[in-house]
C-alpha cells in the first residue's frame, strides 16, 4: 500500500502464458457474469465508430491526388482518385524549408511545455491552500476567463498593449528606453507566443489539476501533519503523489502532440518578418496549399503528425510503465 493510501496501479504488464482457448473461455465467462459492463460501452463505441472510425477511410487520400468532384459524391471520389504513392509526402519533405519549420515546431512547443507545464500544477496546489472561499472563487474565475477568448480577439488585445506604439512601449519610452518590436523582432517573438498561450490556457489546465487534488483523501494530510510534516513535506508526500497519475497523463499527451498544436495561434500572430522563428509545419503547409483546395496535402500532413504523435505517446507511456508502473492503458 503506497503512502497516499492508493493501490498500486494494476496495469502492470504480466506476460500471460495462458492459451488462447482459455482466454476466449475466460472472456465468455466474464461476459455472462457482467453483461451490463459491455452494454455500458455501447454509446461510446457507437460515437467512436461513427464519427472517428468511419471517416478514417479518408486517410487514403494522403496517398492519392484527391479530386473531390470525381464520381457521384466525395466518398466515391476517394475511390476514383488516382494513386500517387508518397508524392504528397515528398512534396512536404523535399521542400527546402521543411527542416526549418520542423525545428520551429519542436522548439516553440518544447518551450511551451517547459515553461507552461509546471505552472498550472503550482497554481492548483496554491489555490488548494487558500481558505477564503470568495478569493478562491474569484482567482479561479479570473485565470479561467482568458480561455474563452478566441485567438483573433487575443491578438487584437495584445497588439494594443504590446504593439510598437502601444501601452507597454509608451511606458518604455517614458522611462527612457527604446521601443521593443514584440511582434516583428525575431528574438522576442517566440516569447510572445509562449506568454500569450500561458495567459490563455493556465486556467483551463489548473482546473484539471485542482479536481485531482480535491480527490485526495483529506485524512492523509491530517496523518502527515500529526507526524510533524510541514507544508513542503505535505506537498511532496501527499499532494504530488496524488497528482501523479494526472500529471503523467497530461505530460504524455502534451509530448505526444508536440508536432500538432498551436496552429491557430501562430496563424493569427505571425507575419513574414518572423517566419524564420515562428513558421511551423502547419502554417507552412497552409501557405503551400493556399487557394489550391488540396485536400490530399493537408491529409498527408495530418497523417504524418498522427503517426509521430502515436509513436511518441506509446513511447512515453512505455517509459512511464517501466519506471513508474503507471500507464494510460
Amino acid at each position: 500500500m503506497k503512502s497516499d493510501g492508493r493501490k498500486p496501479h494494476t496495469s502492470v504488464y504480466v506476460p500471460e502464458k495462458i492459451s488462447t482457448k482459455k482466454k476466449i473461455h475466460d472472456f465468455f465467462v466474464y461476459f455472462r457474469q457482467h453483461p451490463t459492463m459491455y452494454l455500458m460501452l455501447v454509446p461510446g463505441l457507437f460515437f467512436l465508430f461513427v464519427y472517428k472510425f468511419m471517416p478514417l477511410y479518408g486517410i487514403l487520400t494522403a496517398f492519392k491526388k484527391y479530386n473531390i468532384f470525381l464520381g457521384k459524391n466525395p466518398l466515391d471520389a476517394v475511390a476514383k482518385s488516382p494513386w500517387v504513392g508518397m508524392a504528397n509526402f515528398n512534396r512536404l519533405f523535399n521542400s527546402p524549408y521543411f527542416w526549418k519549420v520542423l525545428a520551429n515546431t519542436l522548439i516553440i512547443n518544447g518551450l511551451k511545455i517547459a515553461w507552461l507545464f509546471p505552472l498550472p500544477i503550482i497554481c492548483a496546489i496554491l489555490l488548494n491552500e487558500i481558505r477564503r472561499k470568495t478569493f478562491k472563487k474569484f482567482a479561479q474565475t479570473a485565470i479561467y476567463i482568458p480561455y474563452f477568448f478566441s485567438w483573433v480577439v487575443i491578438f487584437g488585445i495584445f497588439y494594443s498593449l504590446f504593439g510598437s506604439y502601444g501601452v507597454v512601449n509608451s511606458a518604455v519610452k517614458a522611462l527612457g528606453g527604446e521601443r521593443i518590436s514584440f511582434f516583428t523582432d525575431t528574438h522576442v517573438f517566440r516569447s510572445v507566443l509562449v506568454f500569450t498561450e500561458g495567459w490563455k490556457e493556465i486556467g483551463y489546465n489548473t482546473v484539471i489539476y485542482l479536481a485531482a487534488i480535491t480527490g485526495i483523501d483529506l485524512t492523509l494530510y491530517e496523518a502527515a501533519r500529526v507526524d510533524g510534516a510541514n507544508i513542503w513535506q505535505q506537498i511532496w508526500h501527499v499532494t504530488l503523489p496524488g497528482l501523479l497519475p494526472t500529471i503523467i497523463l497530461m505530460l504524455i499527451l502534451k509530448v505526444g502532440y508536440i508536432l500538432d498544436t498551436g496552429f491557430e495561434q501562430v496563424l493569427v500572430f505571425y507575419n513574414p518578418a518572423v517566419y524564420e522563428v515562428a513558421d511551423i509545419i502547419q502554417t507552412y503547409v497552409y501557405r503551400l496549399g493556399m487557394g489550391q483546395m488540396d485536400f490530399s496535402l493537408s491529409t498527408a500532413l495530418g497523417l504524418f503528425n498522427s503517426v509521430i504523435a502515436f509513436i511518441l505517446i506509446v513511447g512515453a507511456n512505455t517509459i512511464s510503465r517501466k519506471t513508474l508502473s503507471r500507464s494510460i492503458w
Binding site: 493501490k7 496554491l126 491552500e129 478569493f135 472563487k137 482568458p146 480527490g215 510541514n230 502515436f310
Partner: protein, 298 residues
C-alpha cells in the same frame, strides 16, 4: 503535549501560514495579469466610438455609453446565436458526460476482459484523423446536416476526457465496491450508487471540459451548417470580426458615430463572456470542497 511535539506542531502551522501567504500573493498577481487584458475589451465595449477607434481606451472606459451593447443585443442575431450555443452546449455536455462515464468505468476495471483492446481503440481515435471531407460525408449520410446533432456529434466522446476519468476511477479503492458486490449489487447499481457520488470532482471537471469544448467550437459548426439561423456564438463573433469592414461601410453609415465596428466587436465579445462568468462559480464549488474517501468506508 510534550515540548518537542509542541514545537513540531508550531513549525507545521508556521510553514502552512507562510505558504498560504505566498499563495495569496502569487494568485493575486496571476489573477490581475489574467484580468487586465479582459478589462481592455470590456472597456472598449462601453466607451464612445471615437475613443475606441482611436485606441484611447486602455483598462477603463472612456466616455461611458451602452449604445454598442444595446446594438449588439437588439440589432444583430446575438440572441439567436446565444440560444444555439446554449442548446448545443447543454445537450452536448449531457450526452457526452453520460457517454464518458459509462465508457470510463468498465475500462478502469483491470478484471474487465478486453479493456486493453478497447482502450487502444480510443488511443488510436485520439491521434488519427480522417480529414474534414470524410467527416462531412458521414454527417451528410446520417442526414443530420444543418442540425444541432451535427454540432454535438464531434465531441460526444473525447478520448482525452475519458482517460482523465478512467485514471480517476482507477484510483478509487476497490474495497467499497467489493463489499457492495458481496451484498449482491449489480454493476449498474454500483456505478450509479457508489462510484458516481465518490467521483464528483472528476465529473464536475469533465462536465466543465466538455461544456467549454462545445461552447468554444467554431470549426465543426461552420462545416456542418449552412443556415444563418444555426450559427452559434463563436461563429457569430467570427463573422463580426471577419466582416467588420463591409459592416462599417454598409450598415453603420446611417447611424450615429458613437459606435463603430471595433466597439461592436468588443461588445459582442463581452456579452459572450456573461454566460460563462455566471456559470463558473456554480460548478467550481466542487473543486473547493475536499472529499474524504475515508468517510465513505465501512
Amino acid at each position: 503535549m510534550s515540548k518537542e511535539k509542541q514545537k513540531a506542531k508550531e513549525s507545521v502551522l508556521a510553514s502552512e501560514k507562510f505558504f498560504r501567504g505566498i499563495a495569496y500573493v502569487f494568485m493575486t498577481i496571476l489573477s490581475l495579469m489574467a484580468i487586465l487584458p479582459c478589462l481592455h475589451v470590456i472597456s472598449k465595449a462601453v466607451s464612445t466610438g471615437e475613443n475606441v477607434i482611436s485606441g484611447n481606451v486602455l483598462f477603463w472606459p472612456r466616455g461611458f455609453q451602452l449604445e454598442a451593447i444595446s446594438y449588439v443585443l437588439k440589432e444583430t442575431e446575438f440572441f439567436n446565436a446565444l440560444k444555439n450555443s446554449l442548446i448545443v452546449t447543454i445537450c452536448g455536455t449531457a450526452i457526452a458526460v453520460f457517454t464518458t462515464i459509462t465508457t470510463a468505468y468498465p475500462l478502469s476495471k483491470s478484471s474487465f476482459k478486453g479493456h486493453k483492446v478497447i482502450t487502444m481503440f480510443y488511443v488510436i481515435s485520439m491521434v488519427f484523423y480522417g480529414g474534414m471531407v470524410p467527416a462531412y460525408m458521414v454527417v451528410r449520410t446520417l442526414g443530420i446536416l444543418d442540425t444541432y446533432a451535427a454540432c454535438i456529434l464531434p465531441f460526444a466522446i473525447v478520448p482525452f476526457n475519458m482517460f482523465v476519468m478512467k485514471s480517476y476511477f482507477e484510483g478509487l479503492p476497490e474495497s467499497i465496491e467489493e463489499s457492495a458486490r458481496m451484498d449482491g449489487a449489480g454493476d449498474i447499481k454500483i456505478l450509479t450508487a457508489i462510484v458516481v457520488p465518490m467521483s464528483k470532482p472528476v465529473i464536475a471537471t469533465i462536465t466543465l471540459l466538455y461544456a467549454i469544448t462545445y461552447w468554444n467550437n467554431y470549426f465543426h459548426v461552420t462545416m456542418y451548417t449552412k443556415s444563418a439561423s444555426m450559427r452559434t456564438l463563436q461563429v457569430y463573433l467570427y463573422n463580426v470580426i471577419y466582416n467588420s469592414q463591409t459592416f462599417a461601410e454598409n450598415t453603420l453609415n446611417g447611424l450615429t458615430i458613437n459606435i463603430n465596428s471595433e466597439g461592436i466587436l468588443a461588445a459582442a465579445v463581452t456579452m459572450s463572456l456573461v454566460p460563462i462568468v455566471a456559470l463558473y462559480p456554480f460548478v467550481s464549488r466542487y473543486f473547493i470542497q475536499g472529499i474524504t474517501i475515508g468517510s465513505v468506508k465501512g
